[in-house]
């Protein structure tokens, strides 16, 4: 019997779309019975959203004031306690899941498979290594397996259900050695970068934070999220949460428009699964053109206003 415990990612009110993609990954394991666990201070709203994902058999609410912010040190003992009856424990390979799951794995003494991109069986998975330059197939021999799911490799589970929602109590000693202070996130009405259908992304060639802001107008015209290369983030043109690439976000939009991005291998790792890649760059030899479906060589400062007009 394959019983999968999937840890929901959320912000207290909304379920992060990464979770629906994890459900698809879990559903790819034959005979899987899927429970989604929502750890929160008040889990009702998020649990209701999780219950409406097709393939989910049950939603578990684990409510505790200590769960108001997702601290790995606080969540891990609770996840481990809840995991007793499960064969697999999964979470998205977002900063939330990457932080939490190895801590859970160590408490359970269960091996972890990071960045699952394909399921071959309940014990065999494919994952990228060397910044996506090689794919390894891993066979796991352990009674309990933990993993993080590379969300760009899976489509979101469609609407279904609703699955039953149960409140559960877990008994675990929660540490006080780790305390949440703050999270600074610029408010934005734009779509979430990780799950957006369209992304407009800028690189170092934008030249300044002020120039970079031109991308926002284009993105808004397209209903797109905004991304950035590491070079643009390091130069201070864009905030860190916009970084796309090996150490930033791995994304799979339908349309990716790279503007003034040369295409370092670490950046290409983050966009390999995009359906269509458009590259606009002054340098005709830039590596981004090797992977672009449509390439336009030219001065981005001339092309951007033209695009604005045409769209």
């Amino acid at each position: 019997m394959t019983r999968i415990l999937l840890i929901a990612e959320h912000d207290g009110t909304g379920l992060n779309p990464a979770t629906a993609r994890c459900v698809s990954c879990a559903a790819g394991i034959a005979g899987a019975e899927i429970s989604v666990a929502v750890f929160a201070a008040d889990a009702a709203a998020v649990a209701a959203q999780a219950a409406r994902l097709a393939g989910v058999n049950r939603v578990l609410k684990v409510e505790n004031p200590a769960n108001a912010h997702p601290l790995a040190a606080v969540l891990a003992p609770q996840v481990a306690a809840l995991a007793a009856a499960y064969t697999h424990v999964l979470a998205p390979s977002t900063t939330f899941g990457k932080d939490l799951m190895p801590r859970v794995a160590a408490l359970l003494d269960a091996p972890q498979v990071s960045d699952i991109m394909a399921v071959e069986s309940a014990t065999r998975f494919r994952r990228p290594i060397y910044a996506g330059n090689a794919i390894v197939t891993v066979e796991v021999s352990a009674p309990k397996i933990t993993g993080t799911v590379r969300t760009a490799s899976f489509t979101a589970a469609p609407a279904g259900g609703p699955a039953p929602i149960e409140a559960v109590a877990v008994s675990a000693d929660l540490p006080s050695h780790t305390r949440f202070v703050s999270v600074s996130a610029p408010a934005s009405d734009r779509p979430d970068l990780q799950t957006a259908r369209r992304v407009v992304s800028g690189g170092r060639a934008l030249g300044s934070a002020e120039n970079f802001r031109q991308l926002y107008a284009l993105a808004d015209r397209l209903g797109a999220a905004v991304g950035a290369s590491r070079a643009a983030v390091d130069a201070g043109y864009a905030p860190n949460e916009l970084q796309v690439g090996q150490t930033g976000k791995i994304i799979a939009p339908e349309l990716y428009i790279a503007i003034g991005i040369s295409g370092a291998i670490q950046h290409l790792t983050g966009i390999k699964d995009a359906r269509t890649i458009v590259a606009i760059n002054k340098d005709a030899e830039a590596p981004i053109f090797e992977v672009a479906d449509f390439g336009l060589v030219g001065d981005l400062f001339e092309i951007l206003p033209q695009l604005q007009q045409l769209l």
């Binding site: 160590a106 540490p175 390999k272």
Partner: protein
């Protein structure tokens, strides 16, 4: 005196375009340039800066790997670490993250550091597990993907790079930190320091001596190149681009 323990992994250099062995049994490493994992270099740099900021500390660098990893430890000593420990497994088999965490826990028990800094991931296996596992086994706080670390007495305030932006945590020491790219820019090693580093202590510990049985629960059965994207077409201007995208139903 406070001790800071820093993990150093020997990996294929960041700039090398890796190749798979023709039989698909792994990544070719013979004759390939090897270096300190870039995130570990950032970890060591942070330890050095914490000391330069006024905390009296002994900095110990530790690696798990073959005898050749002594080269990377010597580089770390040249950067400014005080001493090094190499834990050498008997077989060349890959060390699983949980085994690495258990080994580091043994070193933590022996050295009693207040601060442990590891890279958030190694750029070969890209696992991103060991730091979190060590923190769990040690039952201490973790602050992963750090872009700023401030130590004040027995507390640390850490800014973390998370998907939503920047998160700040306060943790009690001792604790485990893992580094993100923007934490700092590591210094270059100067030639006189390389000479000095030759005299610094480097201890080699056979893994068997630590009483740890390496786990073998994750078996790599096949290595493949990733699917390649194909080069598309060039368009001459913005108008042609927009009509091409409309033609594909993308706009």
């Amino acid at each position: 005196m406070t001790r800071i323990l820093v993990g150093i992994k020997r990996v294929v250099d960041y700039n090398v375009r890796i190749r798979l062995r023709p039989d698909g049994s792994g990544v070719a490493t013979d004759g390939v340039k090897m270096s300190i994992n870039p995130f570990d270099e950032i970890a060591l740099e942070e330890a050095l800066r914490i000391r330069e900021g006024g905390l009296e500390a002994e900095i110990i660098v530790a690696s798990i790997g073959p005898a050749d990893a002594q080269q990377q430890l010597r580089t770390a000593l040249a950067m400014g670490a005080d001493r090094a420990v190499l834990v050498e497994p008997a077989a060349a088999a890959a060390v699983e993250p949980m085994t690495a965490a258990r080994i580091l826990l043994k070193l933590v028990e022996r050295e009693q550091p207040q601060i442990v800094i590891l890279g958030k991931q190694a750029i070969d296996d890209d696992n991103n597990q060991t730091g979190q596992m060590l923190a769990a086994l040690w039952d201490r706080p973790q602050a992963t993907f750090a872009s700023k670390i401030v130590i004040e007495g027995a507390l640390a305030t850490v800014t973390r790079e998370v998907d939503a932006g920047l998160e700040t945590l306060q943790v009690d020491l001792p604790a485990v930190f893992t580094t993100d790219l923007r934490l700092n820019e590591p210094r270059y090693v100067k030639l006189p320091d390389i000479m000095k580093a030759k005299k610094k202590p480097l201890e080699v510990l056979p893994l068997a001596q630590l009483g740890i049985e390496p786990a073998s629960r994750l078996k790599a059965v096949k290595f493949e190149p990733p699917p390649q994207r194909h080069k598309g077409v060039r368009v001459k201007d913005a108008a042609e681009l927009v009509s091409a995208l409309k033609g594909r139903g993308l706009l």
